[in-house]
């Protein structure tokens, strides 16, 4: 299958504003939000990105559609290196790369009607033929199940429920018929009973239009039901990457194991396993040496974990893990 997105050695280091004295020491500090990750996303795939807060999920999503510039590495979109394209030429790519933000209460302009929100992208990209525009708006509103469209066109965001707002945000991302959409925690702000409607729309868009998704989430139970493949991030690095079913059933990385064991199950007769690791995610300003997880790892095997950064290696078909337990030296 063809690759829509390919990231190689992608890095994003945010400089930290240092105080006067430390600036004299000439030691620049960085938040290593994303630190050398490589992966690809195939056409029509929903690729999940999961991990705790501060692991670099959102930064990765923004890098892939060049909302922020990488500090190193490349992003290929259908084979073109989009990190090298000039800003003026990049506009043509913008409409093919879209994003749905986490919070539909903040991502929609409260002074614009649904119709304004949806036609703005068309106007920006010079596709503002009146009749075409209203046809497209109606079509997209039907795609996101806001029917009949007439009933929603002239409403303002405050007149919509959370679920409806998130569907408007999804519709806006769809207006320009993108090939790739980053969905950044699209349902985490919504009530449980209405989450499924947004999720099912994402699945339908993939099936109907072969839209490719990066699905960012902290909820592994949700990821299992939505994603095809998934990467688990820890402190800016990918710890493990695999088909989602395999990852949930047979996690290999100690961190993935702990993460999955910690997910509560909506069933009082099943108790969650007790292998809860200690402590919290360290600061990405000064991540631990060697394997970044070694400070919390229950399977720590000695000096190698502290000194050498493990590479992401293949351990099976489509299954990659970055852990010395699975190193070739062993």
């Amino acid at each position: 299958m063809e690759e829509v997105i390919k990231a190689t050695n992608l890095k994003k280091w945010f400089p930290l504003r240092a105080g006067f004295f430390s600036s004299l020491l000439k030691k620049e500090l960085y938040v290593k939000a994303v630190d050398d990750i490589s992966f690809n996303i195939k056409k029509g795939e929903i690729f999940g990105l999961a991990g705790e807060s501060g692991s670099g999920k959102t930064t990765t999503g923004r890098l892939l559609i060049r909302l922020i510039e990488p500090s190193g590495g490349k992003v290929f979109f259908n084979g073109d290196d989009i990190t090298k394209i000039s800003e003026s030429k990049f506009k043509a790519y913008r409409k093919r790369l879209q994003i749905i933000f986490q919070d539909p209460y903040e991502s929609l302009n409260p002074r614009m009607t649904v119709n304004d929100i949806l036609t703005e992208p068309l106007q920006i990209h010079g596709m503002a033929d009146q009749r075409e525009m209203s046809k497209r708006v109606n079509k997209v509103l039907e795609d996101v199940k806001l029917t009949p469209p007439d009933e929603f066109l002239f409403r303002f965001p405050h007149e919509l429920s959370g679920g409806q707002r998130q569907r408007v945000a999804t519709a806006r991302a769809l207006m320009l018929s993108p090939e790739f959409i980053v969905a950044d925690e699209p349902v985490s702000m919504l009530d449980v009973s209405i989450r499924a409607e947004v999720l099912n729309i994402i699945l339908e868009l993939r099936d109907k239009y072969k839209v490719t998704f990066l699905f960012i989430t902290h909820d592994l139970a949700l990821a299992r039901h939505i994603c095809d493949r998934i990467a688990i991030m820890y402190l800016g690095r990918i710890a493990e990457m695999s088909d989602v079913d395999e990852l949930v059933k047979e996690p290999l990385h100690p961190y993935t194991k702990a993460l999955i064991a910690a997910v509560p199950v909506p069933d009082p007769t099943e108790k969650r396993s007790e292998t809860v690791i200690k402590g919290e995610i360290p600061s990405p300003v000064n991540p631990p040496s060697g394997c970044r997880f070694h400070t919390r790892c229950p399977a720590y095997i000695g000096d190698i974990c502290r000194k050498k950064e493990p590479e992401l290696i293949a351990v099976g078909k489509n299954h990659f893990v970055a852990c010395h337990l699975f190193g070739s030296e062993k």
Partner: protein, 324 residues
């Protein structure tokens, strides 16, 4: 006699546009040493119940009816002074939602707990209170030397632990935890829940866990109450609620919830969204979203009906099957 009996609790908020009927006719009980999970979507009145129990409703909010009987004392009939001196923190304490922001940022964490102890237990010296905080810190798994740290020096999980320490400082009979897991990462959340479970056993206290997350409730609560739009839909033993849900709303909520252990399925949502409580639907408040809605559902509010011991459901479908 149960430790806490709430009967017909009704709380309204008065606004310029009328009364928001946030909690209406809610009845439940909590036994000593038992954990009750209060589940429901945002705006269904879960937190309002907690605030009503402690009588700390914001201005405009008022308990307009019902009884709250804790340890044979009707809290609703007590004067404000009595509630402050005898109930709050000594008998019922609350772990606020969002431990991140619940603490005063300009006082050391330890001092804030010392203050709570000295306000509620008159005559305790500062030195004594500090010793007690040290012990509490050990109990919740924080190094006692961190007492002099400010909240910003604590991580999210530690702040949540400190809030728990503050809640159990005066040995309350009942601790209410409002969304104890939200805003925490799964691993930290699991640690905090484990701590709550251990404390419940060690201190033999009762717990009310308020959460929108059913899986969290399934994990620690023996009993579960499902709320919808200010009213109780179903209350029962957690196993019964999760394995044999009877109210259509409970059924919908459970099937909308993904489980990491279950096979990949398409999730089912409940059509529509929760109603505005300024002007809630007539009859059963769930009827506009219910696929089994009948004529009677629009007209009459269903009463809580006992279907088996300890399992009550407010749904007209139950009455019908009873007759049949």
């Amino acid at each position: 006699m149960a430790l806490l009996e709430v009967k017909d609790l009704t709380t309204y908020y008065s606004t310029l546009r009328g009364y928001v009927r946030a909690v209406e006719g809610v009845t439940f009980s909590v036994e000593k040493g038992e954990a009750l999970g209060l589940a429901g979507e945002s705006g269904c009145g879960k937190t309002t119940i907690a605030l009503s129990l402690l009588r700390i409703l914001p201005s405009g909010g008022k308990v307009v009816g019902g009884d709250i009987i804790l340890d044979n004392v009707n809290i609703n009939k007590l004067s404000e002074d009595d509630v402050r001196n005898k109930i709050r923190w000594k008998k019922i304490s609350l772990i606020f939602q969002g431990a991140m922001n619940a603490m005063n940022p300009v006082y050391p964490v330890g001092e804030q707990i010392v203050e709570a102890i000295r306000i509620h237990e008159r005559g305790v010296s500062k030195k004594k209170a500090r010793e007690q905080v040290g012990k509490l810190f050990e109990l919740v798994g924080i190094e006692p030397s961190r007492m002099s740290n400010y909240p910003f020096e604590f991580s999210g999980g530690m702040r949540q632990r400190a809030m728990i320490a503050m809640a159990v400082a005066c040995n309350p009979l009942l601790v209410i935890a409002d969304e104890p897991g939200t805003a925490l990462d799964v691993i930290v959340q699991a640690q905090v829940l484990k701590l709550l479970k251990e404390l419940k056993q060690r201190l033999d206290m009762s717990l009310i866990i308020i959460s929108h997350d059913l899986s969290l409730i399934a994990d620690i609560c023996e009993k579960t109450a499902i709320m919808y739009a200010g009213q109780l839909a179903e209350v029962g033993d957690s196993v019964a609620i999760f394995k044999n849900p009877l109210h259509p709303y409970t059924q919908g909520l459970i099937s909308a919830f993904p489980s990491i252990r279950s096979k990949r399925t398409r999730m089912i949502s409940i059509p529509g969204s929760p109603p505005d409580l300024l002007n809630p639907p007539s009859g059963c408040r769930f009827h506009p979203r219910c696929k089994y809605a009948m004529d009677i559902c629009k007209k009459e509010r269903p009463q809580l009906l006992t279907v088996e011991k300890g399992h009550v459901v407010a749904c007209h479908l139950m009455e019908k099957s009873e007759v049949m």
